[in-house]
Subunit: 336 residues, 2 copies
DNA sequence: TTGAAAGCGCTAACAT
DNA sequence: ATGTTAGCGCTTTCAA
């Protein structure tokens, strides 16, 4: 059996409350007493029982992180950053995978008893959408990530998608490109990363006085590498002319690069390629991929901080937090 | 306040114990009683308080997973698999990152109070080594992963490194290669992935009657893409001839591929390239990368099952579990 | 088949 | 500055 506060109290010759005070860094304790208690704690190797503590206090010190799947680099890197940020707030992270966009599973997860062990949740949905906003009304602190749902009942951390996509497009235009193909359009979508980024693209075009050309839009369902490759193949097959490609995420762009190279096109001489997400991997591809760094660490730090605040104060009205991005210029869009 | 067993008992007009029996699927309950209780549960939206349950039962239903960092695809994909496997065992996973090989941090983590909320730990060390085996004697169920420590006091799940590396090397030899450079040698290492894989390489060479050539060994400290690139550069600069490269992990191989292509060498015509780990990414590189699939799902499933068993029965002697691998032939080692 | 009551280890209110 | 005590919500004897 593990040692308890009680055991320590007996050994130190004080009351259980005094031990508790020492453990919880209560201020008004005589140094001699504290000394005695700490010695007893060390001697017995006492560690507080966290189940008992959380039963009593209503806090576990654990936050949940629900995301589609860690096999996708974007989410793996996000989880990495969230865990690091949580550590700074003395929180640990329980990771749940909801799968690649299974709406029902996401909804079920939101009311799973497994979350009981958790003080709050950071949730990155992929299947739920704007129509499900009401389902985010849950009886625990929740911070929403991403671009699937806006104006919901919870705190929301997201990046400036439209501005970022506009800046990325401008980067291509500044490099002298006029015929910029887009990979990742979700036709008919009104809210979400795709439509927000498309809007940024169009704004950049307009400012530069370039006409929008529907034939340059390559629609894809999912944003995996294979989809980027396939979209690029059909774009090439369509015969439409282009001198740049903007992938709405890095994975699409990397898939497209591969097909371009297979087709004998040089990057960036013949076609410049731009990604979005700032994946680690983009530093190492051949050529290295220009991308938009969405400020992952800032997103994670903000999400954890907001959640921690929300755990402290549940009554404050929900807010939206926008993080900063930066355009990262690499070989795939180099000029001259 | 959340509803409790007590509330349900009152509403259903039974004792608290009866409700508990229903919740825990105790058999001998009159159907009518169960009905009544279930109705009350549904009506109140009752969910058991897991802190209270675990205080009483000593179980949390949470297992810990400690690994270096999720930003490394290998560990992200491992975590994905472990979380999936845990779900099948009705367990949730708390993920801890120990950083890229910080021994002190790993040791500290092993006795962290944060693990209190956990029924056991799956631990993939990267800084600790054979000399630290004794430190794995911990007062909770522990399953060790990887190749850093053998014969420790805990259960251990690992792959057949030597056999797998031998099979990979044989694959290159069968493709007609005789001068196979190796990326990832840790000089002076006696235990660990590197030395085990090197041994497999040497065995394959020996069987094929090929002399071992020290000049083909490219030592690297870390196994990141940049290290693979750098090692390949120095190998090329050294002027030594080779017709194949075996990276001791996929990341090294991918880094090397990039440098080979920059140098104008064709893969696989001039140099065949083989990786190790079976990362998702190897399916999408240009060319696709031949690799060794270490059976990640099997590793994860085994680790979780063994841990769950160990949680049930702490007294059984520790065992070692070896998982199956397969050589995945792709474009980077294609012949003809 | 169901009920009563003890207590897991801790924190917090109150008392001294 | 330190001690006493009452639960937090649950499971688990032990009874009935």
């Amino acid at each position: 059996m593990a040692t308890t506060l009680h055991d320590v109290a007996i050994l130190a010759g004080v009351s259980i409350k005094t031990v508790s005070n020492v453990v919880n860094d209560y201020e008004h304790i005589r140094p001699a007493t504290r000394e005695k208690v700490l010695k007893a704690i060390a001697q017995l190797g006492y560690q507080p029982n966290l189940s008992a503590r959380s039963l009593r206090s209503g806090r576990t010190g654990v936050i949940g992180l629900a995301l589609p799947e860690l096999s996708l680099s974007y989410f793996a890197e996000l989880a990495d950053a969230v865990i690091r940020a949580a550590e700074r707030h003395h929180l640990v992270v329980l990771v749940e995978q909801t799968g690649g966009g299974d709406r029902a599973r996401e909804i079920e997860m939101l009311s799973s008893p497994r979350l009981q062990l958790t003080d709050g949740l950071i949730f990155s949905p992929r299947g739920m959408d704007q129509n499900d906003a009401a389902l985010l009304t849950v009886p625990y602190p929740l911070v929403l990530l991403g671009e699937r749902i806006f104006g919901g009942p919870s705190d929301h951390v997201t990046m400036r998608n439209t501005e970022a996509a506009k800046a990325a497009t401008k980067h291509l235009i500044d490099a002298g490109r006029r015929r910029i193909a887009v990979l990742g359009v979700h036709e008919g979508e009104l809210v979400g990363s795709s439509s927000l980024r498309l809007q940024g693209y169009r704004e950049a075009l307009e400012e530069a006085g370039i006409d929008f050309d529907q034939r340059l839009m390559a629609p894809v369902d999912r944003w995996y590498r294979a989809d980027g490759a396939e979209a690029m193949r059909s774009l090439l097959a369509s015969g439409v002319q282009f001198d740049a490609v903007f992938g709405f995420n890095d994975t699409l762009a990397l898939g497209a690069m591969r097909v371009l190279q297979e087709a004998g096109l040089r990057i960036p001489q013949d076609v410049a390629v731009m990604g979005f997400d700032g994946l680690d991997e983009t530093k190492y591809s051949l050529p290295t991929l220009s991308t938009v760094d969405p400020g992952r660490d800032e997103i994670a730090e903000t999400a954890v901080r907001v959640l921690a605040d929300r755990i402290e104060n549940r009554d404050a009205p929900p807010e939206q937090y926008l993080t900063n991005f930066s355009v990262v210029a690499r070989e795939s869009t180099a000029t001259g």
